[in-house]
Symmetry: none
Subunit: 302 residues, 2 copies
């Protein structure tokens, strides 16, 4: 638990503000959420307001506004305001367009496709913008040097964990994804310094993923958490925290969808990073995969 506890360890975010608001919203108090929402809703408008103005607009106090700014990773309201102005200028100049409508029950199938694709693209952009490259680099280093890697995740996250393990295995690392919580803990006991453990949980509070990570942490392994809640319980036992983003959800679009997209991007980044670091051994392994795939090439149907 070295590392200083603000989720936004890195410098303030420039364009990833909307994403950050969504990510941190759950850990905010009600009044803070009001402020954060106002800010995410209308950056340009809020940039024109003073602390007092924004406090009045959101029906809160100046103190709360400042607190919110802090939580979002800025030293104070002044800096948030500057970032807001920047954001406003950006979306003025044509990018970061408005939010799309939710998916409705009677949407034609073509709309469903378009909306889903758009939302997932958005999720990817948000995730990339909010990802702390410092933490990512540290995590990559830990994985690349690890003697052995355990991955924990249950439910939807278990698929992501398996994906990670599969990939790492393919470049010659010793990685294993555990789905069964009991077995995961049993295996975690085997870990020691020089090993690495990864827990994947969107909520950050899935006991079945936290428990094995805790054990690994206590045993001295380097631990990594991939979570949407950088302040969640799982982070207590994580040396490195990789934050995934949260998209707004709707009735027909469960949160699991975007969290999965986000988690997979993080996993891909980890994989490529590790592949870079272990290029000497990874390259032949990757080449072999191509070979294998190439054989399947164009068997020509009829």
């Amino acid at each position: 638990m070295k590392e200083i506890f603000t989720g936004a360890s890195a410098p303030p975010a420039p364009a990833a503000l909307a994403a950050k608001v969504r990510t941190l919203a759950p850990s905010m108090t009600r009044s803070m959420q009001r402020v954060a929402e106002a800010v995410a809703q209308d950056p340009a408008g809020c940039a024109a307001l003073t602390v007092t103005g924004l406090a009045e607009l959101t029906g809160t106090s100046e103190a709360t506004v400042v607190r919110t700014a802090r939580l979002l990773g800025y030293p104070g309201y002044r800096d948030l305001r500057l970032a807001l102005a920047g954001l406003a200028a950006q979306q003025q100049s044509g990018r970061a367009p408005a939010v799309t409508a939710d998916i409705a029950v009677d949407d034609p199938i073509a709309d469903v496709v378009a909306k889903l694709a758009y939302d997932e693209q958005q999720t990817l952009a948000d995730t990339a913008a909010a990802l702390d490259t410092g933490q990512l680099g540290a995590a990559v280093a830990a994985l690349a040097q690890a003697r052995r890697i355990d991955v924990y995740g249950v439910g939807a996250s278990s698929l992501v964990g398996q994906d990670l393990a599969q990939k790492l295995l393919r470049i010659g690392l010793i990685a294993h994804a555990h789905t069964d919580p009991h077995l995961a803990v049993t295996n975690a006991v085997q870990l020691r310094s020089g090993d690495a453990a990864v827990a994947i949980t969107h909520s950050g509070s899935t006991g079945d993923a936290i428990e094995p990570l805790r054990v690994a942490f206590d045993r001295g392994a380097t631990t990594i958490a991939i979570t949407g809640r950088p302040d969640g319980p799982v982070c207590q036992y994580a040396d490195h925290i990789l934050t995934t983003s949260t998209a707004r959800e709707s009735e027909l679009r469960p949160a699991a969808m975007s969290s999965r997209t986000s988690q997979l991007l993080v996993v891909d980044c980890l994989f490529v990073g590790v592949a870079q670091r272990t290029y000497e051994t990874a390259a032949p392994a990757l080449a072999a995969s191509y070979e294998a795939l190439a054989h399947r090439r164009s068997p020509r149907t009829r």
Copy 2:
């Protein structure tokens, strides 16, 4: 006093600041010119400075800085500073076009993130554009009405298959993802008209996914293929074909990455489509998921 006569007649200038500086320079005094030049030279840097800071930097006084801001058309320095921040953000976002290149071994980690995110976004856009909504609609109808759904996929595709089965299960359908090819075939024998089977294979020629689909097809079940090769062998036995897209791959970016992204989007579309069609039963099930998640709200760390 409806306001008039300032050089900047109406609203403050957004991006045309450099031009304005040049225009107004002749009418400025020496110290004002210094300030204006500093501002035009490095908007980002100046945006980070306070009045006092900028005054020191230019070797002038705060009063002069404010006067300059006024001359440039802003009510005061505060507003100039906001405009500066906006300008900086704009020219910041103007660059970063280098993402299109392949990922290299020595790419810094930040580039890796950007490139991967960009590529996956691209894949999503391609997939959405290429997806045949007619086929998709038919597939959705088949799944929604099916008495029982079997999903086949091996390797990376097996994870996608599991994702699909998990989702469908959650809205009350009877779906099962088979990873073991032998068991898959064994189970496929059980299918008959009114059932549905889905095979997921990027190459379109993975025997282990084709074989169970063939059996299901022969047994009279409605069959669906999710593949990147709409002319591959798997399609012989598919009533409905959903095409996934393939992004260019590179040494460090195996094809499996983008095919997975693409497949998942298709799976999500299927899921949402089915959820729409079975809304009566799906809605309560989805609501229950939210409940379960809501309970996890703000458990407060530490």
